[in-house]
Subunit: 360 residues, 2 copies
DNA sequence: AGCGCGATCTGAAACGATTCAGGAACTCCT
DNA sequence: AGGAGTTCCTGAATCGTTTCAGATCGCGCT
């Protein structure tokens, strides 16, 4: 099986030309300046066994004098670069920011440095990002809400410690952290049904060019929606709209739905970005959440802003990020068996779903 | 002068122990499998001169068979890692997301891969982030709204191509991209004065533990505010509140100001995150922008959301990001003289500053 | 004196790529 | 036929670090 897909970064321009950094001090320079061997300097750097105080002193002085810093690339040639990589699907999502802060918080207490590789939203970009980190010999990778195929991720995980955050497929090769999307979605639906809504429309994420998976959070939310509707005897009102989970596409898709006959009385948007688009579509038509109830998912920071006031599901991204970093470090440390954690979400009820008329 | 400050990452645990990845194919494996020399494989990889079709074919087959990928670390030992680093002050700011998207957009058309290093908001974290990238031998660095001392950045720039985005100090050693904060602030103030406001309060950023600089965007915005107030004969109404540029600290600081005697009739917040906090503080007191006008800065994506409707200054972060990546690539390519670009902002007037009573 | 033993230090061999200076084979021209 | 020029390929040096297998030294003990 071919694991890696993108080789576009292999070929490149004349590498030497850009070497630059002519004057950077090396370990040899330090050794010469301190009048000791290269190996000695290395030991001082790493606080290794068998260094006299006198030598440590001399070496440290030379290091300071030359502004020497070891190069991670050379270090990585043997041993480790002490780096972990995080792949993010796009910038600017509040949920992801929370997760990243959690990851950073945990890594601060370890010797690992975090670097991020953006996957953009382009097709294949996620593969490229993972490969870029792999090529840079990071010690482990956290992938957030990846779109890549599970078997591919599994193949990668065979070679390098991997933690996946946000998707529901479980592998024996890597750890997973997920919010309980089914439970969260049931909370939302129960809330809306309780308030008497029947024509509830669901807004789900449309993966551009990526094979539909049943394992993404959005797929789970969507199927719980449909199942709940059927159980409530509302099969005929089931309506799922697909648009990318961003404000603008959601606005357009929802706008079209509102202009059709029999508009919904409530909208369960698959995440908060999409919900913001829904709110905008309402506003464009002179409607508010007093006319149509709206709920989101993720409890982004602005959900509780007075001008928004969006009912949403809190996933505690910070904690999920923390845990995924912790699991990754464990795995780098040698753990082999897979851990799968599910974090319980809570529904945060706000005005966007409680002002609408309850009887339709 | 000692350039580098943080050596905490030098010492580390037994590196070898974590080497992992036992079975990864090397260029030698490929050479053996294809029955050619190591140098030949390298040439195929880099599309270099002097490779027969037959050999290219054989080598490519071997590469595919072994799932071989060159290691960037080894590559970086000679030549370049084809990587540029971006230092971001924190996650989750819309303006920064825009900038990053711009950077990514430009780099897509180059052989460079982008990696991000977060500086958090902890003191010294920015230094660590820059050093982490430097140690990883990136080919160049973009620092966004850095808090580091200019002379330190200059010392770094002496060794590695650097572009600074957002701060106003200019160096002969590195390029800078800034929005014209003075012009933008004048637009805001002219707008508020024109609408008859006199008691205008300014909300500026409080750097925690970092020496005040006159060169940050916030310092410029603040001083233009004061200057404009004086020119308008409103010296007695000058009031500057300092809080971190995030929603929560801004909310608290503004709340306190509102509860004092003679509250402002308008607030010029130094950025949108802070402005959101101001809006929240208003809402907590049962006030709206019909009572007190509010303006922000950066034109974050939600500024034009119907529930927010915030007057703000658009800086076109995407374009600024694009340009900074372009400048960095030029500089990596050999340019020596410094380029300093100023981007013109535009005022976007929305409801938050036009609904308040104009005569006070 | 001879032995064993820590403690310190060093030389040299990795690590995985790139690149340079040729060598071998082929073509072309006179 | 012989030299010149191309094309294709290889061996070996190189990059900056870690680490392993000794070398050296001083010291206490028998």
């Amino acid at each position: 099986m071919t694991i890696f897909v993108d080789r576009s970064t292999f070929s490149c321009i004349d590498l030497q030309k850009f070497s630059a950094e002519p004057g950077r001090a090396t370990i040899d320079d330090v050794a010469r300046a301190a009048g000791v061997s290269r190996a000695a300097v290395s030991k001082v750097l790493r606080d290794a066994y068998g260094v006299s105080d006198a030598m440590r002193e001399r070496v440290n002085r030379a290091i300071a004098e030359l502004d020497y810093r070891p190069r991670v690339a050379a270090r990585a040639m043997r041993g480790s670069a002490l780096t972990v990589g995080v792949v993010i699907p796009h910038f600017g999502s509040y949920f992801i920011s929370d997760v990243l802060e959690g990851v950073a918080a945990h890594l601060r207490e370890t010797p690992y440095q975090m670097i991020l590789a953006p996957a953009d939203d382009e097709y294949r970009a996620g593969y490229r990002a993972v490969e870029a980190l792999y090529d840079r010999q990071v010690d482990g990778i956290v992938v957030i809400a990846p779109l890549e195929r599970p078997d591919w991720l599994e193949a990668v995980a065979r070679r390098i410690p991997l933690v996946q955050l946000g998707r529901h497929d479980q592998s024996q090769r890597y750890d997973t952290i997920v919010g309980d999307d089914a439970a969260g979605s049931r909370l939302v639906m129960a809330h809306l049904l309780e308030r008497g809504h029947q024509r509830i429309t669901h807004l789900t994420h449309l993966d551009r060019g990526v094979p539909r998976s049943t394992l993404t959070p959005q797929a789970t939310r969507s199927s719980v929606y449909q199942q709940t509707m059927r159980q409530a005897g509302l099969s005929r009102h089931i309506r799922v709209i697909a648009a990318r989970f961003e404000e603008e596409p959601a606005r357009r898709a929802m706008g079209a739905a509102l202009d059709r006959a029999e508009p919904p009385t409530a909208v369960f948007a698959g995440n908060d970005d999409a919900a913001l688009g829904v709110l905008r579509a309402l506003a464009e038509r002179g409607l508010t959440t007093e006319d149509i109830a709206v709920t989101g998912y993720d409890d982004a920071r602005l959900a509780d802003h007075p001008g928004i006031n969006l009912t949403s599901v809190n996933q505690n991204g910070h904690e999920m990020g923390r845990r995924s970093a912790a699991l990754l470090v464990e795995r780098i440390g040698g753990r082999r068996d897979a851990v799968h954690e599910t974090h319980e979400p809570r529904l945060i009820v706000r005005g966007s779903s409680t002002r609408a008329d309850q009887r339709r």
